[in-house]
């Protein structure tokens, strides 16, 4: 699904966030991306949905070279990828239902399809009762569930999560993990950057460790093993 070959990324301020990364992630995998802050985890995942473009090297998503993709084609790539952020990135003036429906409106879905899909996905994340509430009326865990609902509502092939439990308490983090596992069980690939040792060590999946812009460990059913 994702193939990175010799990916090098240097920012204008001279910071090298990716120093020749090679990796392949196949369909249906659940991957943790671990490493210290500033190691290049965020750049690694941002390059997957082309928020960042590598300085050199190639990135393939389902056979398409993202480094050669024209700007006008980027929206169509992003419709196949759901993104979940640590800070949720919800629209504060839209209620739960509207925030989720938004991802379908931009791809010009019919109103009836929007209603059906949003209702389904809110049920999946357990927010049916709070559909008319606004983000500031929800807890952190609930907001993250809205964010997840938005990321999966148009049935993406890949869900990328950048420290989705970073702002949440342990109990809520487990709830969120369960939702991700449910999504993964439906065949969706999950790539999750995380600092949560307990989750990584308990729910064993592939672990990719990044340090200094390089992959220093890639283990199936790996452990966290990294001290913050």
């Amino acid at each position: 699904m994702i193939v990175m070959k010799n990916v090098y990324k240097k920012y204008p301020n001279g910071v090298v966030a990716s120093n020749g990364i090679h990796i392949e992630i196949t369909k249906g995998e659940f991957v943790y991306v671990v490493g210290p802050s500033g190691a290049g985890k965020s750049t690694f995942i941002k390059m997957m949905y082309r928020e960042e473009v590598p300085t050199s090297g190639t990135i393939y998503f389902n056979g398409t070279d993202l480094t050669k993709m024209r700007s006008k084609d980027v929206p169509f790539l992003r419709r196949q990828i759901g993104v979940v952020f640590q800070d949720f990135k919800l629209l504060p003036k839209l209620n739960v239902y509207e925030n989720v429906a938004y991802a379908l409106e931009v791809i010009e879905e019919t109103p009836s399809a929007i209603r059906k899909k949003v209702t389904e996905v809110l049920e999946l994340v357990g927010l049916t009762q709070k559909a008319r509430m606004f983000p500031n009326e929800l807890s952190g865990g609930e907001q993250q569930r809205v964010s997840i609902a938005r990321s999966i509502v148009n049935s993406p092939k890949l869900v990328i999560a950048d420290e989705p439990t970073g702002n949440l308490d342990p109990d809520t983090s487990w709830e969120i993990m369960k939702i991700f596992e449910r999504i993964n069980a439906h065949g969706t690939t999950i790539v999750m950057a995380t600092h949560n040792k307990e989750i990584v060590d308990t729910r064993r999946n592939r672990v990719i460790q990044i340090e200094g812009g390089l992959i220093t460990r890639d283990e199936y059913e790996g452990e966290y093993r990294y001290e913050i």
Binding site: R78, V83, K89, L91, E105, V106
Partner: protein, 294 residues
Amino acid sequence: MKFRTLKRHVRESFKSLSRNNWMTFASVSAVTVTLLLIGVFFVIMMNLNQLADNIENDVEIKVVADPAADQEAVQKLLKKVKETPGVEEVVHSTRDQELEKMIDSFGDELALYKQSNPLGDALYIKAADPKETAKIAKKIGTYDYTYDVEYGEGKVEKLFNVLKVGRNVGLVLILALLFTAMFLISNTIRLTIVARRTEIEIMKLVGATNSFVRIPFMLEGVWLGIFGAILPMILVTVAYSQLYTVWEARLQNELFHLLNPMPFLLQLNGLLLFIAVFIGVWGSFMSVRKFLKV
């Protein structure tokens, strides 16, 4: 674009205006204040321009025919003057009519001259372009049977220079005011859009195309322009109509007349609405562009 999407954009643009009510209020106020200034300034400048036109059009050349010239010679001169390029209108006043005018002005003592009128026939000439007055006067001065040519030499040139400077200053001021308006309004809109850059970022990350992001913001710009233009248009229309009614009654026989409200107010309101909508759309377009590179 699908019609359903366009409807969605229109609906969203209105929703967004009400959701961001304080920002909407700030932008509409900026449009209202600057347009009111522009409107008032335009009224003043256009009427001063009208005054300048009136003054210019009042300039005429008086050609006095040689008193010794007979009627045939005067007719020849009249024909030649009429054929002179740039001459728009010629009014022939006979020597007797000229004397009558003098008697009217200076008193019956001059009636003595009726027995032996020393005056020549006079031709009052209006140039098609008042600025050509001096040139035409000089040319006519070379014709046969011309005794004297008067057009306020020296004064007319000065007057035209003053009017020219006045018009140029007005034009510069209008352009400066328009530029300030564009800067002020688009800057206010920019601030409101900067505050919503996360919204644009999210739109882009969930796969919105640039036009999908841009259109609701541009529509908002249109509505902001229209809402902001309403008050200045009403105020300028009501105030100018009142002013016209009161002043025209007083200025009936004067040289200066205010511009007729129709079609002046129609044109002015059209211009104000166009400026407001254009700046609204342009300001939104430019501000959103910056945040589309996600």
